[in-house]
């Protein structure tokens, strides 16, 4: 029996909020299902969709959370995964067709690796907000290429006729048709019928769940590994990591590729079997980014990072007397917030002289150097 109270106690306020929202959403969905207002097939579709977003969030988390890399090209990886798989397997693909979806998965992952290197190599050296803009720009380039290279991708028409993932598997390929149709009287009223579409969707959901769970386990393992430790050090203080002899760029690049792979795994997702450019057009910073944020970026399966506890333990760290509330002393490392706060505590104790605090700010600003260019004096 899980100690519910203990788990809740261990959560931060934000985590509690997110958990509460998730629980409410699940309850509402189940109520809809049992009262017959939500068709089971559609219910499964929603669950599958949630699983896909979970995959995207896991991918973004391994970039942003582990490495502090803000990647705004999530949609590009999503797209390249979908296209990579679809172009290999679909019946109206301009490039090739008829390959097994398993090869599609391999091709999608390969393409995502190449794309991650293409985007990551030039941009990962950039500061956080520049990285966001630059990766967004390069993602847009990817979208343009997919849109305009019609001989490769069918352009805006999209790729249709993507077979199901299990199309040539021994038992699973005929599973949906083979299963008997069921009529079930649900507890709260209506009667639902479960036919082939339901089982097809069930298979898809299972697949997504397996992928999501696999990614989660892999990533939490990675997070605890020496590699993950090095990455966390880089995130909180890149200079320190460099001083310890780590090649920070290389680690970042690896994290980037890893995260991109997880995102691209989302490819087997198009529930209707068609990959349309428009589907991932929702674009940068769209839904894909938000789950990662809401889930309080930083960890897979590790609760209450020491850093934050520490920060809560020191009174007055959250906001110093003259610390600019708008974040003008722009933090160099966005996610190392706790760290920079500590540093500032050293420089200006809470309740200290505001002018002194401002003074340290000036030093900080000057040290930050690049990117603080302002208006030129006449």
């Amino acid at each position: 029996m899980v100690d519910v109270a203990g788990v809740v106690d261990d959560m931060t306020t934000a985590e509690r909020g997110v958990t509460a929202v998730v629980v409410v959403a699940i309850v509402v969905l189940l109520l809809g299902l049992f009262s017959g207002r939500l068709a089971p097939t559609y219910f499964l579709f929603l669950v599958g969709l949630a699983g896909m977003y979970a995959l995207l969030s896991l991918g973004l988390n391994s970039q942003w959370g582990f490495g502090g890399l803000i990647n705004f090209s999530v949609a590009a990886f999503f797209g390249i995964g979908a296209y990579g798989a679809a172009l290999v397997t679909a019946s109206n693909s301009p490039v090739s067709d008829g390959f097994s979806p398993v090869y599609g998965l391999a091709v999608a992952l390969g393409l995502a690796t190449v794309l991650a290197l293409f985007i990551g190599l030039p941009t990962l050296r950039l500061r956080a907000d520049y990285l966001a803009i630059a990766s967004l720009g390069l993602a847009e380039v990817v979208r343009r290429v997919i849109l305009n290279e019609r001989h490769l991708t069918n352009g805006s028409l999209g790729v249709r006729g993507v077979p199901g993932f299990f199309a040539d598997w021994p038992v699973l390929s005929t599973f949906p048709e083979a299963m008997p149709g069921l009529r079930i009287d649900v507890p709260l009223g209506a009667t639902v019928e479960l036919g082939a579409p339901f089982y097809r969707m069930l298979l898809n959901v299972l697949l997504v769940t397996v992928f999501a769970a696999g990614s989660y386990l892999l990533l939490s393992r990675v997070h605890r590994s020496p590699w993950g430790r090095a990455l966390r050090t880089i995130r909180s203080d890149e200079d320190l990591a460099r001083a310890l002899g780590k090649n920070t760029f290389r680690f970042k690049l690896q994290a980037f590729v890893l995260g991109s792979l997880v995102m691209a795994r989302r490819q087997r997702l198009q529930p209707r079997g068609a990959v349309r450019r428009g589907r991932h057009r929702r674009g940068p910073g769209g839904p894909a980014v938000r789950p990662g944020v809401a889930g309080r970026y930083s960890r897979v399966g590790e609760r209450g990072p020491r850093k934050r506890r520490l920060r809560r333990a020191i009174p007055g760290v959250r906001r110093l007397p003259n610390e600019n509330p708008r974040g003008h002393g722009r933090r160099r490392r966005p996610s190392g917030a706790g760290w920079s706060a500590h540093r500032r505590v050293d420089a200006a104790p809470p309740g200290g002289d505001p002018a002194a605090a401002a003074g340290t700010h000036l030093v900080e600003r000057r040290r930050r150097g690049a990117g603080t260019a302002r208006y030129r004096r006449p």
């Binding site: 030039p122 803009i133 390069l138 380039v141 305009n148 910073g285 208006y375 030129r376």
Partner: protein, 315 residues
């Protein structure tokens, strides 16, 4: 001469980008975050102008450069509404938040979605246009290969006037001096007695207003659609970064360059014939559909090679 024509088109497009990039750069300098809602502020301005123009259509009046006089009233409405929206957003959303530059950046994406959603609810997702008669290019310039309409001339002239006024504001008025001081170093400005809150609001007003005018012109140049601003936003970012973040004059220069590059893509394939000292066959085979992609690549290159931009201070 195709070159002249393309340069002229580039100049017109640049004027729009410059109007957008100045506001973005101002806000980046003072509020210190990349405002992704800026593109949609342009959209808001454009639709505000559309409503005003539609409401005033009965009013007659002389026409100026092929545009009825009321259009300039609509333009002013675009400025005012966009500025108002920007200021209200700053007051309601950005100011109370204490989440650092990246948090604000992501917030601004959400704000952009809200703007766009509201515009879409009211005006639907269909594109539309101002009820202005489309006109033929100016005859006198056609022999030179320049095909610009008097609407385009109006865009350029208005932009130049606005940019000139901003220059005067920044350089010769007390307010402008305070704005520059504030952008340079907010803490120092505050300590020396400048009311930084007020200056920040003025900055948002100017930035949002210019974006509104830019959006209105973008609607005149192409058509209006709820995505118009967001589609332009990355180009505007490219201009701001090329010019140097926070630098108004850099943003002007960057906007000019990005606009011209964007419009002169057809030249790339025949580059050899234009440049001296290189073989005539030299060319970069990049189609015009990749115009924006080229701008983004320039942006990334600038970020890598010279993050302070062409007009920014060296480190």
């Amino acid at each position: 001469m195709a070159v002249l024509g393309l340069l002229a088109d580039g100049l017109v497009f640049s004027s729009i980008i410059v109007l957008g990039s100045i506001g973005l750069s101002l806000v980046y300098g003072i509020a210190d975050f990349a405002n992704f809602a800026h593109g949609d502020t342009m959209t808001v301005g454009a639709y505000a102008a559309l409503v005003t123009f539609g409401g005033l259509s009965g009013v007659g009046g002389s026409s100026l450069l092929g545009l009825p006089a009321v259009f300039f009233v609509a333009l002013a409405a675009g400025f005012v509404v966009a500025a108002l929206v920007a200021v209200v957003t700053e007051k309601l959303v950005y100011q109370p938040l204490d989440i650092g530059a990246i948090g604000l950046l992501i917030t601004s994406i959400g704000v952009a979605f809200i703007y766009r959603g509201l515009v879409q609810i009211v005006f639907t997702a269909e594109s539309t246009r101002y009820d202005v008669r489309s006109i033929r290019p100016i005859e006198a310039l056609v022999p030179y290969g320049v095909r610009v309409t008097s609407h385009d001339v109006a865009i350029v002239i208005t932009s130049v006037v606005l940019v000139g006024s901003l220059h005067a504001l920044l350089q010769y008025t007390d307010l402008g001096r305070k704005m520059r001081a504030m952008a340079d170093n907010p803490e120092l400005a505050r300590i020396s007695g400048i009311r930084t809150d007020r200056i920040r609001l003025v900055t948002w007003t100017v930035g949002g207003g210019l974006a509104g005018v830019g959006g209105t012109f973008l609607g005149l140049f192409n058509r209006l659609s709820p995505r118009m601003g967001f589609n332009l936003l990355l180009l505007v970012f490219a201009a701001v970064i090329l010019g140097g973040i926070g630098s108004v004059y850099g943003a002007m220069l960057g906007g000019l360059l990005i606009g011209v590059v964007h419009e002169s893509m057809p030249l790339l394939s025949g580059l050899g014939g234009l440049l001296p000292l290189v073989p005539d066959t030299l060319g970069i085979p990049v189609g015009i559909e990749y115009a924006e992609a080229v701008a983004f690549v320039i942006m990334v290159a600038v970020l890598l090679v010279r993050p302070t931009g062409i007009a920014g201070e060296g480190t």
